[in-house]
Symmetry: C2
Subunit: 236 residues, 2 copies
Protein backbone atom coordinates (compact mmCIF):
# COMPACT_ATOMS: atom_id res chain seq x y z
CA UNK A 1 0.00 0.00 0.00
CA UNK A 2 1.28 3.52 -0.68
CA UNK A 3 2.12 5.71 2.30
CA UNK A 4 -0.05 8.53 3.60
CA UNK A 5 2.01 11.07 5.51
CA UNK A 6 1.34 14.45 7.08
CA UNK A 7 3.83 17.31 7.15
CA UNK A 8 2.56 19.41 10.07
CA UNK A 9 4.28 22.63 9.00
CA UNK A 10 6.06 23.98 5.90
CA UNK A 11 9.07 24.42 8.22
CA UNK A 12 9.32 20.61 8.39
CA UNK A 13 9.16 20.09 4.61
CA UNK A 14 12.93 19.39 4.48
CA UNK A 15 12.18 16.07 6.21
CA UNK A 16 10.13 14.87 3.22
CA UNK A 17 11.26 13.69 -0.16
CA UNK A 18 8.29 14.59 -2.35
CA UNK A 19 9.69 13.17 -5.58
CA UNK A 20 7.24 10.83 -7.27
CA UNK A 21 4.54 11.60 -4.67
CA UNK A 22 1.32 13.53 -4.41
CA UNK A 23 1.59 16.68 -2.29
CA UNK A 24 -1.73 18.00 -1.04
CA UNK A 25 -1.50 21.63 0.04
CA UNK A 26 -4.01 22.60 2.70
CA UNK A 27 -4.70 25.99 4.23
CA UNK A 28 -8.29 25.57 5.40
CA UNK A 29 -8.53 29.14 6.74
CA UNK A 30 -8.70 30.28 4.04
CA UNK A 31 -6.34 30.13 1.07
CA UNK A 32 -7.05 26.64 -0.24
CA UNK A 33 -10.75 26.90 0.60
CA UNK A 34 -10.80 30.03 -1.60
CA UNK A 35 -9.00 28.25 -4.46
CA UNK A 36 -11.39 25.32 -4.40
CA UNK A 37 -14.37 27.68 -4.29
CA UNK A 38 -12.92 29.78 -7.12
CA UNK A 39 -12.59 26.80 -9.43
CA UNK A 40 -16.02 25.48 -8.50
CA UNK A 41 -17.42 28.85 -9.56
CA UNK A 42 -15.69 28.88 -12.93
CA UNK A 43 -12.38 30.67 -12.40
CA UNK A 44 -10.16 29.06 -15.05
CA UNK A 45 -6.66 29.37 -13.63
CA UNK A 46 -4.94 30.53 -10.46
CA UNK A 47 -1.32 31.67 -10.44
CA UNK A 48 0.02 31.26 -6.90
CA UNK A 49 3.02 33.45 -6.05
CA UNK A 50 5.12 33.95 -2.92
CA UNK A 51 5.46 37.69 -2.79
CA UNK A 52 3.30 40.79 -2.89
CA UNK A 53 5.57 42.19 -5.62
CA UNK A 54 5.02 39.20 -7.92
CA UNK A 55 1.30 39.45 -7.33
CA UNK A 56 1.33 43.18 -8.07
CA UNK A 57 3.24 42.58 -11.32
CA UNK A 58 0.57 40.14 -12.48
CA UNK A 59 -2.15 42.58 -11.47
CA UNK A 60 -0.39 45.22 -13.57
CA UNK A 61 -0.65 42.83 -16.53
CA UNK A 62 -4.41 42.91 -16.10
CA UNK A 63 -5.12 39.87 -13.90
CA UNK A 64 -7.55 40.10 -11.01
CA UNK A 65 -5.25 39.67 -8.00
CA UNK A 66 -5.65 38.56 -4.39
CA UNK A 67 -3.04 39.35 -1.75
CA UNK A 68 -3.50 38.51 1.91
CA UNK A 69 -1.11 39.03 4.81
CA UNK A 70 -1.93 38.30 8.46
CA UNK A 71 -5.52 37.51 7.57
CA UNK A 72 -6.34 40.82 5.89
CA UNK A 73 -6.44 41.98 2.27
CA UNK A 74 -3.38 43.94 1.24
CA UNK A 75 -4.27 47.46 0.08
CA UNK A 76 -4.50 47.90 -3.67
CA UNK A 77 -5.53 44.37 -4.56
CA UNK A 78 -8.82 43.22 -6.02
CA UNK A 79 -9.79 40.24 -3.88
CA UNK A 80 -9.64 39.38 -0.22
CA UNK A 81 -9.25 35.98 1.43
CA UNK A 82 -12.93 35.10 1.87
CA UNK A 83 -14.28 32.21 -0.21
CA UNK A 84 -17.44 34.24 -0.83
CA UNK A 85 -15.35 36.72 -2.86
CA UNK A 86 -14.57 34.01 -5.41
CA UNK A 87 -18.16 33.35 -6.44
CA UNK A 88 -18.49 36.53 -8.52
CA UNK A 89 -19.88 36.20 -12.02
CA UNK A 90 -17.29 38.57 -13.49
CA UNK A 91 -14.42 36.23 -12.47
CA UNK A 92 -15.69 33.31 -14.58
CA UNK A 93 -13.14 31.91 -17.02
CA UNK A 94 -10.55 34.39 -15.74
CA UNK A 95 -6.97 33.74 -14.65
CA UNK A 96 -6.27 35.25 -11.24
CA UNK A 97 -3.05 35.80 -9.23
CA UNK A 98 -2.90 34.91 -5.52
CA UNK A 99 -0.45 35.34 -2.68
CA UNK A 100 -1.23 34.52 0.97
CA UNK A 101 0.61 34.38 4.30
CA UNK A 102 0.80 30.61 4.45
CA UNK A 103 -1.02 28.68 1.71
CA UNK A 104 0.89 29.88 -1.33
CA UNK A 105 4.19 29.59 0.57
CA UNK A 106 3.47 25.94 1.37
CA UNK A 107 2.58 25.31 -2.27
CA UNK A 108 5.78 26.88 -3.58
CA UNK A 109 7.82 24.74 -1.17
CA UNK A 110 6.19 21.55 -2.47
CA UNK A 111 6.81 21.82 -6.20
CA UNK A 112 9.23 18.88 -6.27
CA UNK A 113 6.25 16.54 -5.89
CA UNK A 114 5.00 14.52 -8.87
CA UNK A 115 1.56 16.09 -8.47
CA UNK A 116 0.64 19.14 -6.40
CA UNK A 117 -3.02 19.31 -5.44
CA UNK A 118 -5.02 21.83 -3.46
CA UNK A 119 -7.18 20.39 -0.71
CA UNK A 120 -9.84 21.70 1.65
CA UNK A 121 -12.85 20.26 3.45
CA UNK A 122 -14.87 21.70 0.58
CA UNK A 123 -13.37 19.23 -1.94
CA UNK A 124 -12.20 16.41 0.33
CA UNK A 125 -14.09 13.81 -1.70
CA UNK A 126 -12.40 14.85 -4.94
CA UNK A 127 -9.00 14.83 -3.23
CA UNK A 128 -9.50 11.38 -1.72
CA UNK A 129 -10.71 9.96 -5.05
CA UNK A 130 -7.68 11.40 -6.85
CA UNK A 131 -5.09 10.01 -4.44
CA UNK A 132 -6.75 6.60 -4.22
CA UNK A 133 -6.85 6.39 -8.04
CA UNK A 134 -3.21 7.52 -8.27
CA UNK A 135 -2.05 4.76 -5.91
CA UNK A 136 0.97 6.92 -5.07
CA UNK A 137 2.65 7.87 -1.81
CA UNK A 138 0.96 11.03 -0.60
CA UNK A 139 2.02 13.83 1.74
CA UNK A 140 -0.46 16.35 3.13
CA UNK A 141 1.41 19.64 3.53
CA UNK A 142 -0.28 21.67 6.24
CA UNK A 143 0.24 25.38 5.59
CA UNK A 144 0.02 26.22 9.29
CA UNK A 145 0.66 29.77 10.46
CA UNK A 146 4.07 31.31 9.73
CA UNK A 147 5.76 27.95 10.23
CA UNK A 148 3.67 26.97 13.24
CA UNK A 149 1.44 23.92 13.52
CA UNK A 150 -2.26 24.68 13.39
CA UNK A 151 -5.41 22.81 14.30
CA UNK A 152 -7.55 23.30 11.21
CA UNK A 153 -5.08 22.05 8.60
CA UNK A 154 -4.19 19.06 10.75
CA UNK A 155 -7.89 18.25 11.16
CA UNK A 156 -8.21 18.21 7.36
CA UNK A 157 -5.25 15.81 7.17
CA UNK A 158 -6.97 13.59 9.74
CA UNK A 159 -10.30 13.71 7.90
CA UNK A 160 -8.56 12.72 4.67
CA UNK A 161 -6.68 9.94 6.45
CA UNK A 162 -9.99 8.53 7.66
CA UNK A 163 -11.38 8.60 4.11
CA UNK A 164 -8.44 6.73 2.58
CA UNK A 165 -7.54 4.42 5.46
CA UNK A 166 -8.31 1.26 3.50
CA UNK A 167 -6.06 2.29 0.62
CA UNK A 168 -3.00 3.77 2.34
CA UNK A 169 -0.51 2.85 5.03
CA UNK A 170 -1.18 5.38 7.80
CA UNK A 171 1.71 4.50 10.09
CA UNK A 172 3.56 7.78 10.42
CA UNK A 173 3.23 9.41 13.84
CA UNK A 174 1.96 12.74 12.55
CA UNK A 175 -0.63 10.99 10.36
CA UNK A 176 -1.74 8.88 13.34
CA UNK A 177 -2.01 12.04 15.47
CA UNK A 178 -4.00 13.89 12.79
CA UNK A 179 -6.39 10.96 12.38
CA UNK A 180 -6.80 10.68 16.15
CA UNK A 181 -7.49 14.40 16.50
CA UNK A 182 -10.08 14.34 13.74
CA UNK A 183 -11.80 11.24 15.08
CA UNK A 184 -12.06 12.62 18.60
CA UNK A 185 -13.53 15.93 17.39
CA UNK A 186 -15.49 15.14 14.25
CA UNK A 187 -18.85 15.37 15.98
CA UNK A 188 -18.24 19.04 16.63
CA UNK A 189 -15.45 20.24 14.41
CA UNK A 190 -16.54 23.87 14.61
CA UNK A 191 -16.32 23.93 18.42
CA UNK A 192 -12.79 22.52 18.28
CA UNK A 193 -11.66 24.91 15.53
CA UNK A 194 -13.12 27.80 17.50
CA UNK A 195 -10.45 27.11 20.15
CA UNK A 196 -7.71 27.70 17.59
CA UNK A 197 -5.30 30.61 17.56
CA UNK A 198 -6.30 31.45 14.01
CA UNK A 199 -9.95 31.93 14.88
CA UNK A 200 -9.02 34.05 17.90
CA UNK A 201 -6.62 36.03 15.72
CA UNK A 202 -9.35 36.72 13.17
CA UNK A 203 -12.24 37.22 15.56
CA UNK A 204 -12.29 40.94 14.91
CA UNK A 205 -12.38 40.42 11.15
CA UNK A 206 -15.90 38.96 11.34
CA UNK A 207 -15.07 35.77 9.53
CA UNK A 208 -17.29 33.39 11.49
CA UNK A 209 -19.39 32.85 8.39
CA UNK A 210 -16.21 32.03 6.44
CA UNK A 211 -15.07 29.55 9.10
CA UNK A 212 -18.32 27.61 9.11
CA UNK A 213 -18.27 27.56 5.31
CA UNK A 214 -14.65 26.32 5.18
CA UNK A 215 -15.58 23.40 7.45
CA UNK A 216 -18.26 22.16 5.03
CA UNK A 217 -17.45 18.71 3.65
CA UNK A 218 -17.68 17.94 -0.04
CA UNK A 219 -19.54 21.00 -1.20
CA UNK A 220 -17.55 21.08 -4.42
CA UNK A 221 -16.04 18.62 -6.82
CA UNK A 222 -13.33 21.00 -8.06
CA UNK A 223 -9.72 19.92 -7.71
CA UNK A 224 -7.02 22.55 -8.30
CA UNK A 225 -3.87 20.89 -9.59
CA UNK A 226 -0.55 22.54 -10.42
CA UNK A 227 0.61 22.49 -14.05
CA UNK A 228 3.41 24.69 -15.40
CA UNK A 229 3.15 27.63 -12.99
CA UNK A 230 -0.62 27.56 -12.65
CA UNK A 231 -3.42 25.79 -10.86
CA UNK A 232 -6.03 24.38 -13.18
CA UNK A 233 -9.17 22.42 -12.37
CA UNK A 234 -8.52 18.68 -12.73
CA UNK A 235 -12.19 17.74 -12.47
CA UNK A 236 -13.48 20.27 -14.95
CA UNK B 1 -1.47 33.53 33.59
CA UNK B 2 1.82 32.43 32.06
CA UNK B 3 1.72 30.63 28.73
CA UNK B 4 2.14 26.90 28.26
CA UNK B 5 3.38 26.07 24.77
CA UNK B 6 4.49 22.94 22.98
CA UNK B 7 7.27 22.83 20.39
CA UNK B 8 6.45 19.63 18.47
CA UNK B 9 9.95 19.14 17.05
CA UNK B 10 13.45 20.56 17.61
CA UNK B 11 13.28 21.59 13.93
CA UNK B 12 10.61 24.14 14.92
CA UNK B 13 12.59 25.61 17.81
CA UNK B 14 13.45 28.72 15.74
CA UNK B 15 9.79 29.75 16.12
CA UNK B 16 10.18 30.08 19.90
CA UNK B 17 11.88 32.75 21.93
CA UNK B 18 12.91 30.84 25.06
CA UNK B 19 14.46 33.80 26.87
CA UNK B 20 13.08 34.14 30.39
CA UNK B 21 11.06 30.91 30.05
CA UNK B 22 11.17 27.34 31.29
CA UNK B 23 12.11 24.82 28.59
CA UNK B 24 11.13 21.25 29.39
CA UNK B 25 13.04 18.75 27.29
CA UNK B 26 11.21 15.50 26.73
CA UNK B 27 12.36 12.34 24.98
CA UNK B 28 10.14 9.73 26.58
CA UNK B 29 11.69 6.85 24.61
CA UNK B 30 14.15 6.91 26.22
CA UNK B 31 16.73 9.63 26.85
CA UNK B 32 14.91 11.79 29.37
CA UNK B 33 13.32 8.77 31.06
CA UNK B 34 16.88 7.50 31.57
CA UNK B 35 18.06 10.83 32.99
CA UNK B 36 15.19 11.01 35.46
CA UNK B 37 15.79 7.40 36.50
CA UNK B 38 19.52 8.02 36.84
CA UNK B 39 19.03 10.92 39.23
CA UNK B 40 16.39 9.06 41.21
CA UNK B 41 18.95 6.30 41.72
CA UNK B 42 21.70 8.61 42.94
CA UNK B 43 23.68 9.60 39.86
CA UNK B 44 24.97 13.06 40.81
CA UNK B 45 25.45 14.81 37.49
CA UNK B 46 24.80 14.22 33.81
CA UNK B 47 26.77 16.01 31.11
CA UNK B 48 24.68 16.02 27.92
CA UNK B 49 26.67 16.41 24.71
CA UNK B 50 25.70 16.53 21.02
CA UNK B 51 28.34 14.31 19.45
CA UNK B 52 29.84 10.87 19.87
CA UNK B 53 33.32 12.47 19.86
CA UNK B 54 32.53 14.78 22.80
CA UNK B 55 31.09 11.82 24.68
CA UNK B 56 34.17 9.71 23.94
CA UNK B 57 36.45 12.54 25.17
CA UNK B 58 34.61 12.61 28.50
CA UNK B 59 34.77 8.83 28.73
CA UNK B 60 38.52 9.07 28.18
CA UNK B 61 38.67 11.40 31.19
CA UNK B 62 37.21 8.60 33.30
CA UNK B 63 33.46 9.31 33.21
CA UNK B 64 30.97 6.50 32.67
CA UNK B 65 29.51 7.34 29.26
CA UNK B 66 26.30 6.57 27.38
CA UNK B 67 26.02 7.00 23.62
CA UNK B 68 22.97 6.00 21.66
CA UNK B 69 22.26 6.36 17.95
CA UNK B 70 19.17 5.04 16.19
CA UNK B 71 17.99 3.35 19.38
CA UNK B 72 21.09 1.22 19.95
CA UNK B 73 24.17 1.62 22.15
CA UNK B 74 27.21 2.84 20.24
CA UNK B 75 30.11 0.37 20.44
CA UNK B 76 32.73 1.18 23.03
CA UNK B 77 30.49 3.02 25.49
CA UNK B 78 29.53 1.95 29.00
CA UNK B 79 25.78 2.47 29.11
CA UNK B 80 22.88 1.89 26.76
CA UNK B 81 19.60 3.77 26.51
CA UNK B 82 17.50 1.62 28.85
CA UNK B 83 16.37 3.22 32.12
CA UNK B 84 17.14 -0.07 33.88
CA UNK B 85 20.85 0.49 33.13
CA UNK B 86 20.83 3.59 35.30
CA UNK B 87 19.86 1.87 38.53
CA UNK B 88 23.29 0.32 39.12
CA UNK B 89 24.84 0.71 42.54
CA UNK B 90 28.27 1.52 41.12
CA UNK B 91 26.94 4.67 39.37
CA UNK B 92 25.83 6.35 42.61
CA UNK B 93 27.26 9.83 43.14
CA UNK B 94 29.03 9.63 39.77
CA UNK B 95 29.04 12.17 36.94
CA UNK B 96 28.15 10.55 33.62
CA UNK B 97 28.31 11.75 30.00
CA UNK B 98 25.39 11.19 27.63
CA UNK B 99 24.68 11.67 23.94
CA UNK B 100 21.53 10.43 22.20
CA UNK B 101 19.92 10.68 18.76
CA UNK B 102 17.26 13.17 19.79
CA UNK B 103 17.06 14.05 23.48
CA UNK B 104 20.45 15.63 23.99
CA UNK B 105 20.14 17.47 20.65
CA UNK B 106 16.85 19.02 21.77
CA UNK B 107 18.44 20.03 25.07
CA UNK B 108 21.42 21.69 23.42
CA UNK B 109 19.07 23.66 21.15
CA UNK B 110 17.12 24.99 24.17
CA UNK B 111 19.90 26.50 26.26
CA UNK B 112 18.71 30.08 25.74
CA UNK B 113 15.84 29.37 28.17
CA UNK B 114 15.92 30.77 31.70
CA UNK B 115 15.62 27.25 33.10
CA UNK B 116 16.12 23.98 31.23
CA UNK B 117 14.41 21.00 32.85
CA UNK B 118 14.26 17.34 31.91
CA UNK B 119 10.79 15.83 31.87
CA UNK B 120 9.32 12.35 31.49
CA UNK B 121 6.18 10.59 32.62
CA UNK B 122 8.34 9.22 35.43
CA UNK B 123 8.73 12.67 37.04
CA UNK B 124 5.71 14.53 35.66
CA UNK B 125 4.56 15.54 39.15
CA UNK B 126 7.92 17.13 39.97
CA UNK B 127 7.92 18.95 36.62
CA UNK B 128 4.40 20.29 37.05
CA UNK B 129 5.13 21.46 40.60
CA UNK B 130 8.28 23.25 39.44
CA UNK B 131 6.64 25.13 36.58
CA UNK B 132 3.57 26.09 38.62
CA UNK B 133 5.83 27.41 41.40
CA UNK B 134 7.97 29.29 38.85
CA UNK B 135 4.92 31.08 37.40
CA UNK B 136 6.90 31.53 34.16
CA UNK B 137 6.02 31.01 30.51
CA UNK B 138 6.89 27.41 29.69
CA UNK B 139 7.70 25.58 26.47
CA UNK B 140 7.74 21.79 26.24
CA UNK B 141 10.39 20.88 23.67
CA UNK B 142 9.54 17.50 22.19
CA UNK B 143 12.70 15.72 21.08
CA UNK B 144 10.86 13.80 18.38
CA UNK B 145 12.81 11.59 15.97
CA UNK B 146 15.44 13.24 13.77
CA UNK B 147 13.35 16.38 13.49
CA UNK B 148 10.06 14.55 13.05
CA UNK B 149 7.02 14.84 15.29
CA UNK B 150 6.43 11.82 17.50
CA UNK B 151 3.50 10.53 19.49
CA UNK B 152 5.10 9.75 22.84
CA UNK B 153 6.71 13.13 23.49
CA UNK B 154 3.55 14.95 22.42
CA UNK B 155 1.51 12.74 24.78
CA UNK B 156 3.79 13.81 27.62
CA UNK B 157 3.22 17.46 26.67
CA UNK B 158 -0.53 16.81 26.73
CA UNK B 159 -0.38 15.04 30.09
CA UNK B 160 1.57 17.95 31.56
CA UNK B 161 -0.89 20.45 30.04
CA UNK B 162 -3.73 18.63 31.78
CA UNK B 163 -1.89 18.79 35.11
CA UNK B 164 -1.24 22.53 34.93
CA UNK B 165 -4.38 23.67 33.11
CA UNK B 166 -5.59 25.80 36.03
CA UNK B 167 -2.30 27.66 36.24
CA UNK B 168 -1.35 28.29 32.61
CA UNK B 169 -2.88 29.71 29.46
CA UNK B 170 -3.10 26.71 27.11
CA UNK B 171 -4.22 28.53 23.98
CA UNK B 172 -1.52 27.62 21.47
CA UNK B 173 -2.68 25.22 18.77
CA UNK B 174 0.05 22.64 19.36
CA UNK B 175 -0.64 22.69 23.12
CA UNK B 176 -4.38 22.25 22.46
CA UNK B 177 -3.61 19.35 20.10
CA UNK B 178 -1.27 17.67 22.61
CA UNK B 179 -3.85 18.01 25.39
CA UNK B 180 -6.58 16.64 23.13
CA UNK B 181 -4.44 13.67 22.08
CA UNK B 182 -3.58 12.84 25.68
CA UNK B 183 -7.17 13.16 26.87
CA UNK B 184 -8.53 10.93 24.14
CA UNK B 185 -5.93 8.21 24.81
CA UNK B 186 -5.14 8.39 28.51
CA UNK B 187 -7.18 5.34 29.37
CA UNK B 188 -4.83 3.20 27.31
CA UNK B 189 -1.66 5.12 26.66
CA UNK B 190 0.37 1.99 26.01
CA UNK B 191 -1.94 0.83 23.22
CA UNK B 192 -1.67 4.23 21.53
CA UNK B 193 2.12 4.41 21.92
CA UNK B 194 2.39 0.91 20.52
CA UNK B 195 1.12 2.31 17.20
CA UNK B 196 4.06 4.71 17.05
CA UNK B 197 6.89 4.55 14.57
CA UNK B 198 9.42 4.50 17.40
CA UNK B 199 8.00 1.36 18.95
CA UNK B 200 7.86 -0.35 15.56
CA UNK B 201 11.43 0.79 14.89
CA UNK B 202 12.64 -0.68 18.16
CA UNK B 203 10.49 -3.81 18.18
CA UNK B 204 13.49 -5.99 17.41
CA UNK B 205 15.49 -4.48 20.25
CA UNK B 206 13.19 -6.08 22.86
CA UNK B 207 12.39 -2.86 24.65
CA UNK B 208 8.75 -3.55 25.51
CA UNK B 209 9.66 -3.63 29.19
CA UNK B 210 11.37 -0.24 28.77
CA UNK B 211 8.33 1.24 27.03
CA UNK B 212 5.90 0.19 29.74
CA UNK B 213 8.31 1.55 32.36
CA UNK B 214 8.72 4.88 30.56
CA UNK B 215 4.93 5.35 30.55
CA UNK B 216 4.71 5.08 34.35
CA UNK B 217 3.45 8.29 35.94
CA UNK B 218 5.19 9.87 38.92
CA UNK B 219 7.45 7.01 39.88
CA UNK B 220 10.22 9.43 40.83
CA UNK B 221 10.52 12.85 42.36
CA UNK B 222 13.88 13.63 40.68
CA UNK B 223 14.09 16.71 38.48
CA UNK B 224 17.19 17.11 36.31
CA UNK B 225 17.89 20.79 35.75
CA UNK B 226 20.66 22.34 33.64
CA UNK B 227 23.31 24.39 35.44
CA UNK B 228 26.64 25.39 33.87
CA UNK B 229 27.07 22.54 31.37
CA UNK B 230 25.55 19.83 33.55
CA UNK B 231 22.26 18.43 34.68
CA UNK B 232 21.91 18.28 38.44
CA UNK B 233 18.99 17.07 40.54
CA UNK B 234 16.82 20.01 41.60
CA UNK B 235 14.80 17.97 44.09
CA UNK B 236 17.71 16.26 45.77
Amino acid sequence: MPKFEVCLSPDLIHLYDLKGKNAIIVDVLRATSCMVTAMAHGIAEIIPVSTIDECKALQNKGLPAAAERDGSKVDGFDLDNSPFSYMAENLKNKTIAVTTTNGTQALVKSLSAETVLVGAFLNIGAVSKFIIDSNRDTVVVCAGWKGNFNLEDTLFAGALAEKVINHFDIGQDSAIAALNMFESNKNDLLAFVNKSQHVKRLANLHIHKDIAFCLTFDLYNSLPIYKTDKLINFTK
